[in-house]
């Protein structure tokens, strides 16, 4: 007998799904702000070769980019308590997202900073701007504007990746989906709807970041 | 009987009317120089002659192959019309010889040995028979442009289009490319060229076309047209590009 799709038991749980989605978005928002902040710090240390921080950030970037997010999450949540560092599920999830995004955005922003044309800096120097002034006005803003699309994509990747935080029982969207399908035994339908929700959230975040970027990052530099 | 016949040709880029009814006949052996300011439509006109730009209305016939209102057998047309670009556009992953041999073997199905002979012949003609196995990045700009001319010639075109072919070259390399064009003209090749080299146009060309705002504004024998422009626009243009 052919399988009959039934989405009704999923939609009965719309409230649960939406609150899970809201939690995922909240995690992503905090992770994005702190992660990009960490990325700017790392990029400055790397681009200006501030010893010993440039080396430390170099090791950090490679360590994070060459290991899976899920393992980073497990290490933080299960491993760190052995060192006496204990945190809640959502704290571990946010920390893992910040550390992960921080590593990628360090590299992305560093590339943007290093692409600053030499003549721009020389022009600013000839106008007697100080080094921090040059960095803020002539280097960082245009660099962020240049790499904003790449940062946007990376934030979305981190949001999608946060689905695995359900494994440490962070009550985000996938956790809600797991709970629902364990109750209604409609795994396919439940995950199908959840996938669609993630897709919509990815579109939403892209739109939002494009708007934000145009208003606060690209807009003022062009 | 004209080799190239263009009648009532119109072209828009969006709302921008770039060719506003072009009528032009080119006889076999003609050397036509297209001049005009940037944006006058001269490059667009040249690029319509082998279908790189589509047209909205009008007729284009080259040696019996026709496009009506932009529709027709493009590949047949392109086999009769060769083109050389400002930026050379050699295929960087192929040697000079392979660049020249590609279209004869792939498009016409010419056997490899024969295509190789053709390639040697046309490379000799442009003075680069020793560069058969060189890759484009091993050649100077002037040499690359000569290979590009050889590549076009290998298809035995009826007409050769040249789109500002010396504009991307260092000044000292311009003359070697112009020498090749001059030789082709002397051999009776039909040439249509967009150029900024006014002296060359006057010396080698037998027909000058001045484009202005998407129309052929003035045309005629280069020597008389340059000496005695009939319109203020051309007089202005000639004065601007050629002081003295």
């Amino acid at each position: 007998m052919a399988y009959r799709f039934d989405f009704a038991p999923v939609f009965e749980q719309t409230g649960l799904l939406l609150s899970g989605a809201g939690f995922t978005l909240a995690l992503t928002a905090v992770g994005a702000v702190l992660g990009i902040g960490l990325g700017v710090t790392g990029a400055v240390c790397r681009a200006w070769k501030l010893r010993p921080f440039d080396r430390l950030f170099g090791v950090y970037v490679e360590a994070i980019r060459n290991t899976p997010f899920l393992v980073q999450l497990f290490f933080i949540f299960f491993g760190l308590p052995a060192l006496g560092v204990r945190m809640s599920e959502w704290q571990a999830a946010v920390l893992a997202m910040v550390i992960n995004l921080g590593a990628y955005s360090t590299e992305i922003i560093r590339a943007g900073i290093q692409a600053t044309p030499r003549g721009q800096i020389e022009a600013a120097e000839s106008l007697a701007l100080t080094r921090p002034q040059i960095f803020r006005h002539v280097v960082l803003r245009p660099a962020l504007a240049k790499v904003w699309p790449a940062l946007t994509s990376q934030v979305i990747i981190v949001m999608l990746g946060s689905a695995v935080c359900s494994q440490i029982a962070t009550e985000e969207l996938t956790f809600a989906a797991n709970f629902i399908q364990s109750r209604n035994f409609r795994a396919f339908e439940t995950y199908f709807v959840t996938t669609a929700l993630y897709f919509a959230m990815a579109l939403l975040i892209r739109q939002l970041l494009v708007q934000l970027g145009q208003r606060y990052v690209v807009g003022r530099t062009r | 009987m004209s080799l190239v016949k263009i009648a009532g040709l119109h072209k828009h880029f969006g709302t921008n009317h770039v060719l506003k009814g072009i009528d032009l006949e080119v006889a076999s052996g003609d050397v036509v120089a297209l001049i005009g300011r940037s944006g006058s439509g001269k490059s667009t006109l040249l690029r319509t002659i082998n279908g790189l730009e589509t047209t909205d209305k009008g007729e284009l016939v080259v040696d019996g192959t026709a496009l009506h209102d932009g529709k027709g057998d493009l590949r047949a047309l392109r086999q009769k019309v060769g083109m050389v670009f400002q930026q050379f556009n050699l295929f960087p992953h192929l040697t000079a010889g392979q660049n020249v041999m590609l279209a004869p073997t792939v498009v016409k199905g010419t056997p490899k040995a024969e295509a190789q002979d053709i390639a040697k012949e046309v490379l000799l003609k442009v003075g680069l028979s020793d560069k058969f196995d060189s890759y484009p990045d091993q050649l100077s700009g002037g040499q690359q442009q000569r290979v590009a001319i050889a590549r076009a010639l290998a298809m035995r075109p009826k007409v050769l289009l040249c789109d500002e072919i010396t504009s991307a070259l260092d000044p000292e390399l311009v003359s070697e490319v112009l020498a090749v064009v001059r030789q082709l003209a002397a051999e009776g090749m039909t040439l249509i060229m967009v150029t900024h080299e006014m002296r060359f146009a006057r010396e080698v060309g037998n027909k000058l076309i001045f484009m202005h705002h998407g129309r052929i504004h003035e045309s005629g024998d280069p020597k008389t047209v340059f000496a005695d422009p009939q319109t203020p626009e051309l007089a202005n243009f000639v004065g601007a590009v050629q002081p003295a």
């Binding site: 689905a163 996938t195 | 590949r75 498009v107």
Partner: protein, 217 residues
């Protein structure tokens, strides 16, 4: 029934599981590459329907979590009556995921070939397939090598997610060992080191290829 694990036992078990991570990565990468090539050709074909369909395919895989893709493959295949092992679902899911990303990377490489190359070959009367075969793809291939190697790192890391549908690769084995030994710090540290040992050489190789390519240009 308490089993005592020495550090060596942990390492040995993880090395064993690492083979499955490696096998799954290779399969997903090779099959994903083949499917990806088909997607690429449809994506750049002279056909609007194919273009739109493959664009949607790519956007869906790039716009949803890998974990959801695995769940849908796992539960979807069992709905159509195929008895799915975690191994099969993991391989199928990762192959599709990889194909979408590789197709998009490669499309970017095709588009990176300068417009003049299209024009020059069109002028020589080459047909679209001839342009692709003789002019565009050979150049796109050279551009594609470095980012393709770079993406292989994402495939290896992606295999970790298959632990959640029960495939006993490195991460899954690590979780079980962490539970059994009560030494999560050591075990997950070793697991991370294992992924690093697989991924870091690939990252370095991708970077050196990229540098070589930029010098050659």
């Amino acid at each position: 029934m308490l089993v005592q694990f020495s550090t060596w036992d942990i390492v040995r078990n993880l090395l064993d599981a690492g083979k499955w991570t490696l096998a799954l990565s290779l399969i997903a990468f090779v099959l994903g590459g083949i499917v990806g090539l088909a997607i690429l050709f449809a994506r750049i074909a002279d056909n609007r329907v194919l273009q739109a369909a493959t664009k949607a395919y790519i956007e869906i895989f790039q716009g949803t979590p890998l974990l959801m893709q695995l769940f849908i493959v796992f539960f979807g295949l069992s709905l159509v009556g195929i008895d799915v092992s975690p191994w099969l679902a993991a391989a199928a899911g990762l192959t599709l995921f990889t194909s979408a990303y590789l197709a998009e990377i490669w499309r970017g490489c095709v588009e990176a070939v300068p417009k003049g190359q299209w024009e020059a070959s069109a002028t020589l009367a080459l047909t679209y397939p001839q342009q692709m075969r003789h002019v565009i793809l050979p150049q796109a291939l050279r551009i594609a090598i470095a980012p393709t190697v770079g993406f292989s790192v994402q495939v290896v890391k992606g295999t970790a997610v298959t632990s959640i549908i029960g495939f006993a690769e490195l991460t899954k084995t690590g979780s079980m060992l962490a539970n059994a030994t009560f030494e999560p710090f050591l075990v997950f540290g070793l697991v991370a080191a294992g992924y690093f040992a697989l991924c870091y050489p690939l990252s370095l190789y991708a970077k050196s290829l990229e540098r070589k390519f930029h010098v050659a240009r």
